[in-house]
Symmetry: C2
Subunit: 592 residues, 2 copies
């Protein structure tokens, strides 16, 4: 065989949902086989979902996916898919694969047949992050991730042990080398070994979370690794939201000379194809999906994160406070795009300080998205509390926010809705938020967006409605394909007034954000440098920010961070007599 | 010199408070010198505090303690303490110490003079967890921790790189080998090397958090290591609360034959001594403090954790809801012991379902501890909300708890008090708690205590009052030494009725905990096995628990854990465009 067809299965898994994930593998494998694929490739930790955090340390959890891999191999064969090579990620036992291999070579092993891996799950110690190939009814070959990222959002060294072997799988004379995610991000390791072994394809499976600008970084890096091994690199990435991470997909294939051979769409499940021809000097490019523009990309990431959080936690609707301001308006629009406007419960909770304009804007927004809209004035409740408490200043402002928090949670509890927090990154970073008040919620869709980005996305969202654009696989409220009979307000979803007016918390008469914070245009630049680039005071001044602004922003951020950490959720149940919470994913369908 | 006096400085550091920590080192060094010590030994990461979490990754933070170590060495010399060898923990630069050493030996280096280490802090990469010896005005010798724990509450591999060298310091012919905490918990590494080098003393500095029963484990382990190197082992541990961890001190020295040579008290700062005689066949035992009984030990750990959380976060008082139940009563007693009854604001928030007995018990408790006591009925507030919301069932029960949460936070905000959450581990584990309601608070003193333990500690606390006992360095309200003119109720602090009545949340008429939960005597046993020992379903049945109870408890815990994770604090400010919170300690006095 000189031609090999790879199917690239960019799927959305759920942590702990072994049944659901395996069923998705089966379904995509059927489609791949129907399209004459020889190999179908799934993302990192397909069967378990990713990231599994400390679930990896539970013995019962480690055994389950291993049994599932065996069982799935059998089902695939029974369905007549035994000829297909199905590459899935899972959790491996503590026993290194090397010990189950017939070969004796230290750096390379070439898999040609089934292995005796059944007893591995009984071994003790940390498990591995493993890739297995299901073929002919058995777990046919395997590879354990070598580099375990342990920075930023990653904690893999905590829960896994490193693989020590390199694996090459030969299919009809085509030599396929394996790597898992971080393996290609660091020099040395398996890719360096594979570069000396002569491989025809470098196949990588990934769980790489979304960050702005990462698409380019990944492609550059992959091209470098493809050149290093002198063969095309297949990069299959997970898609979907998992807890507070969003995986963007964007699976691709790049040739050794840097040519892009395939690119799957971002933010949706997909099954792409790459036809490898071992005779060809250059591989023939397949389908290359265009990239979204930056605003669409970020907006879609937020919607997908929310949508998957809802699905994976079994919520069908959301509730949130609608103040008439830009933050709650954007969150409501995202929510409507995630689950349909009819599943959004907006609650206007005006106080004695709320302007008529704000109330109108909230009502307009709710109408534009086709959402439910209730008005719950907080003044009588505020007066009842004040009759007993007589609070002043910040305490009285916080009281208003907390009464609203109680109301939002009442909607959440009584109607089974997910409460959304509407804070943006600028105000959260500066502590311009009330704990147990507006910070109440199970998910905070725009917590990673600076205020200036919130305005940009609101403008983009309105433009998209008018232009009737769609976004990656998601329904968009108010555009033609939505077809829900909604009449957007002058062709827009988010009231122009919510975008253009000066931001205010409306917790005292005439209050404006700019009373307490630097102007957002400046503030956001300083925040980006201080928080995202971790620039210290001297760096910030060298960046060109004036000393007074730097000191103001640093003081606000440091104080807010201190206060936020001072009031964590509070009680957590710990595995130790005294100690911290077990680290487990929020969304896990795993039951012992 | 054949005799060497070691001073064992068991101090309470604060993360990020370089000035305060250095000043404590200076003060204890002065005392040690006044008592003719040759060497004074401080706990792990003395200058930075421990654990520093992701602060370690901030360049500005890494540089500061290094400069501080240099400066402190100078100050010690200027004060005439240059002859003293001062062993402190700090954060090391990315550059391994080996590269700054004159010697070339790979496994061992013997330090005899100052090193050129000034430029290290400019190097890139992860820092180390370092021990330095300050002597004669300079940083005289150093050792980098080899084994970096990365399980349970520890994340050191995430933030540090391993040391690769073993260090022996010779003082007057006495060869002192160094190890840091985890280095003695694992086989191999520096202790194995030191065992082949011939040392006279094995000196370990530690930041080992409290767990019940750990005192014995540590001593056994240390005796094993002392035997392995054939020399006495000095174990100096940190004391005090840091965020959600409590360090118990309990510094000790054990000889190669297992003889305990010294033991410092638990839960308080202390300066102990160990006189090493290189001529003696057996070392002479010094002062050996008795261990507290198990109830006293756990109670004191809780009080110290709270007391330090307050001090390090600059709180002088607390507020909490007093229901008349056992949980809030025990927390209030702990708070009074931590900061004095006059700094405790108890708020009784009776509803239409609160019994007269409960109200009386709350009032009695407040009087017994000499605390403030306010009554804030929630019925009018509940009625005001219900007039708008008409909630039923659990939503109506949660509303009562959330109104109380708003009131507690109002006291916190308006009086600058730390709000305490009063939940115990049994109810938190089973989800018998309301988020944003009774779970409100910055610190939860009994979150790690099962309900049956809560009763035991309440009984112990009453007995201690009657007996006039003191607890580790802490003032106890109501006992003779307290001398605050308080007349405990019949000789007890916690009303007997609060201890003996059937537990109830009083959120609906006639409600009892046992309506929703198995009896605590049984529940707590299953929880201990399921949560602390991570026993799965099959294990639990093998443990002898009946199948129905196992399934009930597992269902409660899994559902509660899922719900708790579903409603995290919500918005966190992240360093990445999309991602999770930077991991930083709650209490950090570090300012850039």
């Amino acid at each position: 065989m000189t031609q090999l067809r790879f199917a690239l299965a960019q799927i959305d898994t759920c942590v702990g949902d072994l049944e659901g994930n395996a069923s998705s593998v089966l379904q995509f494998s059927r489609m791949a086989a129907a399209h004459h694929a020889d190999v179908v490739v799934f993302p990192e930790m397909t069967l378990t979902g990713y990231p599994i955090e400390d679930l990896a340390l539970r013995r019962t959890f480690r055994e389950a996916p291993w049994n599932k891999a065996d069982q799935l191999a059998g089902v695939l064969r029974d369905e007549g898919l035994g000829n297909l090579y199905v590459v899935v990620g899972t959790v491996g036992s503590a026993q290194p694969l090397a010990q189950t291999s017939a070969g004796e070579r230290k750096d390379e092993e070439t898999a040609r047949g089934p292995r005796d891996v059944e007893d591995e799950s009984k071994a003790e110690g940390k498990p591995t992050n493993r890739l297995v190939v299901l073929h002919d009814g058995v777990v046919y070959a395997g590879y354990d991730k070598h580099f375990l990222p342990n920075y930023g959002v990653f904690d893999e060294f905590r829960i896994f042990q490193s693989g020590t072997r390199t694996t090459i799988l030969e299919i009809g004379g085509v030599r396929i080398g394996f790597a898992i995610c971080e393996d290609i991000w660091q020099d040395g390791g398996p890719v360096a070994v594979l570069a000396t072994c002569g491989i025809d394809v470098l196949l990588t499976i990934n769980g790489s979370p979304y960050e702005e600008g990462k698409t380019h970084t990944r492609l550059e890096l992959a091209a470098k690794r493809a050149a290093q091994v002198g063969a095309p690199l297949i990069y299959v990435n997970q898609v979907g939201g998992q807890d507070d991470l969003v995986f963007d997909g964007g699976t691709f294939v790049v040739d050794a000379d840097g040519t892009l051979l395939e690119r799957s769409p971002m933010f949706m499940e997909d099954l792409g194809y790459f036809d490898f021809d071992s005779q060809a000097r250059r591989q023939k490019p397949g389908k290359i999906h265009e990239l979204p523009d930056p605003d669409e990309e970020v907006y879609t990431a937020c919607v997908l994160g929310l949508s998957d959080y809802m699905t994976k936690n079994h919520f069908t609707g959301v509730t949130l406070g609608l103040s008439g301001g830009i933050d709650s308006a954007l969150v409501a629009a995202m929510a409507a795009d995630a689950c349909g406007g009819e599943h959004v419960w907006g609650v206007s909770m005006p106080s004695m300080y709320s302007s008529d304009g704000s109330k109108d804007d909230a009502a307009d927004l709710a109408r534009n998205i086709g959402g439910h809209y209730d008005v719950q004035p907080i003044e009588p409740l505020f007066d009842a509390f004040q009759g007993q408490l007589n609070l002043e200043g910040i305490a009285a402002e916080n009281l208003q926010a907390r009464i609203r928090g109680v109301i939002v949670m009442a909607y959440s509890n009584s109607k089974g809705l997910l409460a959304l927090a509407t804070g943006n990154k600028s105000e959260l970073a500066c502590g311009y938020s009330t704990i147990y008040g507006d910070a109440v919620g199970g998910y905070a869709p725009i917590k990673d967006l600076l205020k200036t980005r919130v305005w940009e996305l609101a403008r983009w969202r309105n433009k998209a409605t008018v232009a009737g654009m769609g976004i990656g696989g998601l329904h968009m409220v108010g555009n033609e394909s939505g077809n829900r009979g909604i009449e957007p307000d002058g062709g827009v979803i988010i009231p122009v007034n919510s975008i253009e007016k000066a931001p205010s918390a409306e917790l005292r008469p005439g209050q404006k954000d700019s009373d307490s914070l630097p102007e957002y245009a400046m503030l956001d630049k300083v925040l980006a440098a201080y928080i995202e680039k971790a620039h210290g005071r001297a760096d910030l001044i060298a960046d060109g920010f004036d000393e007074r602004t730097v000191d103001t922003v640093m003081r606000l951020v440091d104080r807010a961070e201190w206060k936020r950490r001072q009031y964590p959720l509070g009680p957590k149940v710990t595995a130790l007599a005294f100690g911290r919470d077990r680290r487990l994913p929020v969304t896990s369908a795993f039951a012992e």
